[in-house]
Subunit: 121 residues, 2 copies
């Protein structure tokens, strides 16, 4: 394995809310994504989801209130907790989650990117 | 859980090569550490170890060659692979690894910080 320069990986794609896989560790995948606007409300019944923001602002809307993450901030959405990410334009963030984690949980919407379609970059 | 501002967590301690725990996700701990100089050669028989550098330069010395990580770069040391981290002065980095991961693997040296002594901050 070569080292990974995270900013270079973000230059390899433009799609929003479309996670790309950059590494695997202990059965968990390290994914990066860009976003602007809102994804959809969903939950992951069996997986915690770790978010780290590298650029911009990502708001994790939870039933209990908004978690507003700026560059250099992180949060873990616990398994079973409903959430809906909302991002400022051109926000860059990382997610670390088990390889079993479905993009929008049990919800299948037109924005859902299935696990099979989440490519390694 | 509150959001975590990673840079603020680094301000809470000064010890080098002494991992502090800032989050847990799916049985893995998110740890941050500061370093300068060299730790010791060791391996983790059963755990991959993910490194992300937030400040400075961390070199992961491997038998196969050095992996030099600057700010914004990451690497996964696979389970069973001998490594010895070396850092420029005041380097800040994150490690994500299973909660079972011993600091310096099976090696117990004077620099080893046991799991019990790795505190949450």
């Amino acid at each position: 394995m070569k080292k990974i320069t995270i900013s270079e990986k973000f230059e390899l794609f433009t799609q929003e809310w479309s996670p790309k896989i950059i590494a695997e560790s202990n059965g968990q995948l390290v994914k990066i994504a860009k976003g602007s606007g809102e994804l959809v409300w969903h939950k992951h019944e069996n997986e915690d989801e770790l978010f780290i923001v590298f650029k911009g602002q990502l708001t994790l809307q939870l039933i209990s209130g908004d978690i507003v993450l700026n560059t250099g901030e992180m949060y873990v959405v616990p398994k079973g907790v409903e959430h809906c990410p909302r991002a400022e334009d051109d926000t860059h963030f990382m997610m670390i989650e088990p390889s079993s984690t479905a993009h929008t949980g049990e919800l299948k919407s037109e924005v859902t990117v299935s696990l099979e379609k989440q490519e390694w970059i």
